[in-house]
Symmetry: C2
Subunit: 397 residues, 2 copies
């Protein structure tokens, strides 16, 4: 089949706040083919900046937009996705935002190929890599922000426990903004609210920058509450600081990687940063294939791959296919407090099943349907003029 | 003084081709203050994509645009530039394009601070780092594309020699696209055209991807023509392949780094890629300060820092200030075949002086003036609407 249209859609809530809540807006990408199929993907990125990567005028042979690279191309199987990804990235060599933007289209290409071949994406990946195609359930951890105070955090944790979560990650907000006693009180509140049996994870939200000494001290101080990991204590590119931190073998394992905009950043963090959990957002790193490459590297290095997902269940679907077939990689970031937009985006979200687990769908492609009716009210139509040309006019949803 | 306005301008030639010629368009950034001063900077990036980073609506606390971060802020000295850079990058944590876009504004901030304090930027950097503030002349190498054939390349080289160039870099075009014999013939033509006394450099334009074996073979084959370096034989993020290549100690030194979108990419290439020349574009990596950090790393590691500049002499000025005070770093990429736009952009370009050298200007700030009259015909006004809001309307030049 041939690719006939590539359409980005900027969706957002009426009010956007500075909270570290990635579900307040999103960029969806729809790819259509002459076979009457359509695939969808979601980017975790600035919607407007990424949208322009689909339509920016050519600057020279290394700045050519994604639409130009994709429209008219043949798409029949996984090899075409690989070929087209190479073309898009080569044509966008000098566009820094290329991976953030292309992620949505790449995911949509996998969705299309899976639909055409009647296979779920995880199975296509298994065939391509010659590995097991048996999917395994994942333990979802609710991914929420800390409350402003330990008390508020405690109540959030109790609420999650009452909703049946056996694992939860608390992040950002006040963590690292006041003193050590407050940081410890926040973690204690999370543990007490979730109960002794639950898994808790702590996300420091890059708050200590390059200060690996403070990060180490906090890891030691938090160890009494047995968190599964301490996430992003340092800046995404502070690889040497990560290396210094992990060489001290803190009592709490270190997690990072959501800021990996390219495969090399993840590899760098794993090989030189010494992290023990690598967290990859398929909606940032360029889609499913580079995420799968990080999964494979994690397998080789004996560390755990985890998804980063703070968007809708469309992103969750893409994330799940990447590592569904590895039974050791058993944790799933599961957005539990997202915006109305992110909750309505998919008609058939992933339920937490009666055994407390989440399973990838054994349906062709990503296996989820975008609810275009439900999300239409959130569409922010974009129009871009450069000189006398309208380089982007909003397609209909 | 306070920052009152931050205005990006998209300029372009009437016809844009796929040639690897970065001077066909550009993004200028003008920053104005309430002291009546204005500073300018230039980005080497997709103008439209980078422009949106100045105006994109907030997504959450990690996606806040550059204008929001800068307007109203105090700017009195170098410390303010450092502080504002941290703010911009922190607010843009989840915008992949942030460094490409911010480069123009960062350079403009240095221009402003230099004007206010009556000092050239290189001197501010010297004061800040406690190093020598004596500038040294640079040997300009003409930076041109290979001709389509060895014969055409020979004539280009002869032309450069006749114009007085003692060094020239030939790149992209047919290099690596045909067979080894053609690659060698191209380099021979460059050497013969420039003469035995000249320095020549070869830029392979990332053509061998991750194939370090072919890159090594070419380096050995080119050695008979004594090029100063073989540049970017591999993809910008193929750090392991660079490491494998340089560990074989090819007879021609390896240069790379223009694709460093963040400081860590340059550091990674230096430390793990083992390159001997690091080429940094201040218009991509986030401006003058991160470039200066790479210069300092190069000094520590005993390798040579070189600018990457394929824009106007505004970019050349920014590049020069970064390493003017290091006499060992004596080569300067000097765009010699740029578009009419790039040649008219600056009223007072850097001449190749009678001794064949180029010198930084001992004037406040960057020391160059944008010729707004001359470039006005090239302005491509941009207008961006999101929903019912005009998020960008073109400021007047």
């Amino acid at each position: 089949m041939k690719i006939t249209a590539v359409d980005p859609f900027y969706l957002r809530m009426p009010d956007i706040t500075t909270a570290a809540d990635g579900t307040q807006d999103t960029l969806l990408v729809r790819v259509r083919t002459d076979a009457g199929l359509e695939g969808w993907g979601e980017c975790d990125a600035s919607p407007l900046v990424s949208l322009t990567v689909y339509c920016c005028p050519m600057s020279h042979g290394n700045i050519i937009n994604i639409r130009t690279s994709l429209i008219g191309e043949t798409l029949d199987g996984p090899d075409d996705v690989v070929r087209l990804s190479e073309k898009v990235l080569r044509n966008g060599l000098d566009i820094q935002q290329i991976e953030h933007a292309y992620s949505g289209a790449e995911i949509a290409l996998w969705d299309l190929v899976g639909q055409k071949l009647g296979k779920p994406v995880y199975r296509l990946l298994a065939e391509m890599s010659g590995t097991s195609d048996v999917p395994h359930p994942k333990l979802p951890y609710a991914s929420v922000l800390f409350g402003d105070t330990p008390e508020e955090t405690y109540h959030i944790a109790v609420g999650l426990r009452e909703r049946g979560y056996r694992a939860a990650k608390f992040g950002w907000g006040p963590m690292g903004k006041f003193d050590e006693a407050n940081d410890i009180a926040l973690v204690r509140a999370a543990r007490e609210g979730m109960g002794a049996e639950a898994q808790i994870m702590i996300d420091a939200g890059v708050v200590w920058g390059t200060d690996h000494e403070t990060a180490y001290q906090r890891a030691e101080a938090f160890a009494q509450f047995s968190p599964t990991w301490l996430e992003e204590p340092l800046a995404p590119d502070a690889v040497d600081a990560y290396g210094a931190l992990t060489q001290k073998r803190p009592s709490v394992p270190i997690a990072a990687g959501e800021g990996s905009n390219i495969y090399r950043m993840a590899e760098d963090l794993i090989v030189h940063g010494g992290i023990q959990f690598v967290q990859i957002d398929a909606g940032r790193i360029g889609g499913i294939m580079p995420s799968f490459k990080v999964r494979q590297l994690a397998e080789q290095r004996g560390i755990q791959y985890v998804n980063h997902t703070f968007k809708s269940h469309l992103s969750l679907a893409a994330s799940l296919h990447v590592f569904a077939t590895n039974s050791d990689f058993n944790l799933l970031e599961y957005p539990a407090a997202g915006s109305e937009l992110s909750q309505r985006l998919i008609a058939d979200p992933f339920p937490v099943e009666s055994d407390g687990m989440v399973r990838v769908k054994d349906l062709p492609g990503l296996g989820v349907c975008v609810d275009t009716e439900a999300i239409r009210p959130y569409l922010a139509p974009v129009r871009i003029e450069v000189g006398t040309d309208a380089v982007f006019e909003q397609g209909s949803l």
